[in-house]
Symmetry: C2
Subunit: 487 residues, 2 copies
């Protein structure tokens, strides 16, 4: 645990893997590309989940659960959708194992008539059900979400950021009108932005994906895009206006109020355990994680300091009285009574990114004080015992805000307005986001990707294309876009 | 919705399926044996989940998440385990689809070197990780739980009770000593009993499974067994003492405090969405569900009654004031403003099993009253508006207790002490639980199963085998057991 982490500036990829595993967030699973989310990491995910679950329930959404297994034929019903997912599908073909020459083999007699796939996303199975559930305008809107696991057989995987199986929420809504679906798509994007900024303390750009980058089967994909510490972009959530594509693929029509028949309008939207990766890569430092207090599994850790039994008893009694107060305040805390030295514990809990450390020794007990160390800026202050009630929540709020502001300053400093392709290439090479004009052609978009590996992260809502020229073709810009290399 | 349900006494199987689908709890999925849990059913599951999640967290357990996909070879490592699960495994063999002659087919080039299976339960994958995580006694105990989906390819399925995929929690703990593992096994069983009795309002018998009925890979399996309305048994939860079986299969040893090496001791335990089936079949009546208030998605439904706009406005204003109070009381409520007639709504919410219905019409507004109808016993009473605060929680508690007491009386009346095989067969034929002596031989157990389809549900903790003879062989009884036909 006390071994040094790889350098966060020069070796961020190794730093990342080390932090994830050493801080006890996750571990590799036995099947290639799978991940075990360890208790500390899972608690972090549960906190994120609880926040967002509350947000969507408050806005009239309900949870449900659809099957993991989807008939192979379903995927084919929406042409773009199957193109997008066919190459990464886990396919179930048999349903029994048997013993043969002391080995366990697949029983060939158990072959399925139609193979089934493990859901890479659930539009198809859900719209096959909506077909049964929707007849009339009275059945609309349907505002369903599910928390589930999905499998995409990825070639190159990375804990949290890209794993063969991941956990997510996927919302799937059905509406009477195009306008209502569009409003839902944007309302959810706004919740994603609030989740990222107010809870994960990660500022995000919001906007529209280009056709080349949109979800396979969507009319329009909107996204939140965050900047990581290596100045690369991370797509942190997407909200899709699916138009009538899946309604047409599954023949889902409804009777309108004026007795006509129309295809249903749809949206889908998702955030995943990838967000944990975003938190790590947005806030980490050379000593490890820095977790925003609002989602931290442990908001404050108490480190007792003593040299002998007498001191220990003194400290323990004092801590017990503090504990009562922490409980009343609703603080998520942990008291580290393990055998390690205080120094070892300091390092360990810094690595784990706990926002506030309380150090409590015999001298603190005597003077009715304690030492508070902030993880975000390493500040130490001695406060009186009676100040906990008033100060602790304020300090946690300050840490939350400070992490957000640091990330925002960093992002803004590394987002550059660029007018020519040489500057563009230089910034992409050095790292950073580029704001520039784009002529709107897919050819230009692909050329730039080929030459620089940068992609259009989004066409921001507040784009100002007027007077811009395309950074690549020099033609009049159709859009102002944000370019970056992405995770 | 107003169509009559099948007779609950003579056609309980049809009644069950009708209630599940018409009350909006669940629907069939497209792949055989899979289930869609609809919002109303899922909310019920979420409530059960929240209660139990709180219980295990309070007792020091933490949640984590292990992969869905398990290498085929893992299953083979524990001999009994593979025997138990080999015949119902979903096997993933390929990872890509492709287009061929306008059809979507499995890409033969994407065949996996080693097939993977979808977890039917997670002992093997979890113990492969514990192997990495456990070195010393300091790493113990591990008290991990996960909420997950599992797949068992069942031949005969039934919504909630037996589905190809189901949702559950599976606890997997690791301990230093045999005694500690045994204590954990029983502590959890006690939580299961509390969950069933105090929240689901279902009385349960608790005890030990026979070797023939225990979990594949366990030393001992303990269970909670409930009686359904057709007097058949439903296994509602199991807690396993796994001994050192999985530690040996995955070679997981730890260094003891006195510097020896020993295999780790283990438990596992689970409850699933099957519990929703238990709630339906323990409390239902001819009009549909009766959901215990503590877990009901909607605890009280408000039905406005009016004939014209003027009356509607009057009623609406009155209801708004009641709503404020329900919110303050923390009651889960729903106001049904839909276009249907009050009579239709009464039937619909009875079918859905909402514990309390409030009827509010213009005369109630004038007299500052409202009508309360209890779902459990069909009692109607008129209470004054001001009584809500004091009465509603009491009424909900009464309903909760009444449902439990009714189920307990029913179970006790239908549990019979039996001394000879003729009586045994008669009761099993008529329906009911039999308490009797058993000589302890597996031969006897299998013979009885063959001849009557009844199985030993458990050897109850409070068995009194002294002086009993085996109901089948006439030999001295080794155990007193509970026999029944089971779901």
């Amino acid at each position: 645990m006390s071994k040094k982490l790889p350098n966060i500036d020069s070796e961020i990829s190794n730093w990342y893997t080390d932090v994830v595993t050493k801080a006890g967030l996750a571990d590799y699973g036995p099947v290639k590309g799978t991940m075990v989310i360890k208790p500390y990491g899972f608690q972090l995910w549960e906190n994120v989940k609880d926040v967002f679950d509350g947000m969507i329930k408050k806005t009239g959404h309900v949870n449900a659960y659809f099957p993991l297994l989807i008939p192979k034929s379903f995927l084919a019903k929406e042409a773009e959708h199957v193109d997008g997912f066919a190459k990464e599908c886990a396919v179930v073909t048999h349903t029994r194992l048997k013993s043969e020459n002391d080995e366990i083999v697949v029983d060939p007699d158990s072959r399925l008539e139609e193979e089934v796939i493990i859901r890479p996303t659930s539009e198809t199975v859900i719209w096959s059900m909506y077909k049964k559930w929707i007849q009339s305008y009275r059945d609309l809107p349907i505002l369903i979400n599910q928390w589930a696991n999905v499998v995409r057989w990825e070639m190159r995987t990375r804990l949290f950021l890209r794993t063969t199986e991941f956990l997510w929420q996927e919302g799937h809504t059905a509406h009477k009108t195009k306008e209502e679906a569009q409003k839902e798509t944007l309302d959810i994007l706004d919740l994603y932005k609030r989740l990222a900024e107010e809870y994960l303390a990660i500022p995000v750009y919001t906007g529209l994906k280009t056709d080349a980058e949109k979800f396979a089967g969507a009319d329009k994909t909107y996204c939140i895009e965050a900047m990581m510490l290596d100045k690369r972009a991370l797509q942190a959530g997407t909200s899709h206006n699916l138009g009538q594509n899946f309604a047409k693929a599954f023949d889902v029509k409804f009777q309108t109020e004026d007795n006509n028949e129309e295809y249903v309008w749809a949206t889908s939207w998702g955030i995943s355990t990838r967000l944990i990766g975003a938190v790590i890569l947005a806030h980490g430092d050379k000593n490890g994680l820095r977790i925003p207090p609002k989602i931290a599994p442990i908001q404050t850790v108490l480190i007792p300091i003593f040299r002998n039994t007498e001191q220990r008893e003194l400290v323990e009694k004092y801590i017990t009285s503090i504990e009562i107060e922490l409980k009343q305040l609703g603080i998520r805390y942990f008291i580290d009574w393990s055998d390690s030295s205080p120094g070892f514990k300091f390092n360990e809990w810094e690595l784990k990114g706990v926002p506030v450390r309380m150090e409590i020794g015999p001298r603190d007990v005597e003077s009715n004080k304690l030492v508070i160390a902030r993880r975000d800026n390493s500040e130490k202050l001695s406060i009186s015992r009676d100040e906990i009630r008033d100060s602790l929540k304020t300090i946690l709020d300050e840490i939350q805000n400070n992490l957000f502001n640091q990330a925002k300053v960093f992002r803004n400093e590394n987002t550059h307005n660029v007018e020519n392709y040489n500057d563009f290439k230089e910034i992409i090479k050095q790292g950073g986001f580029v704001k520039c004009g784009w002529d709107g052609s897919q050819k230009t978009e692909l050329k730039i990707k080929e030459e620089t590996k940068a992609t259009i992260r989004c066409i921001p809502f507040d784009e100002k294309p007027e007077g811009l020229t395309c950074v690549y073709s020099g033609e009049l810009a159709k859009h102002e876009v944000i370019y970056a290399k992405a995770y």
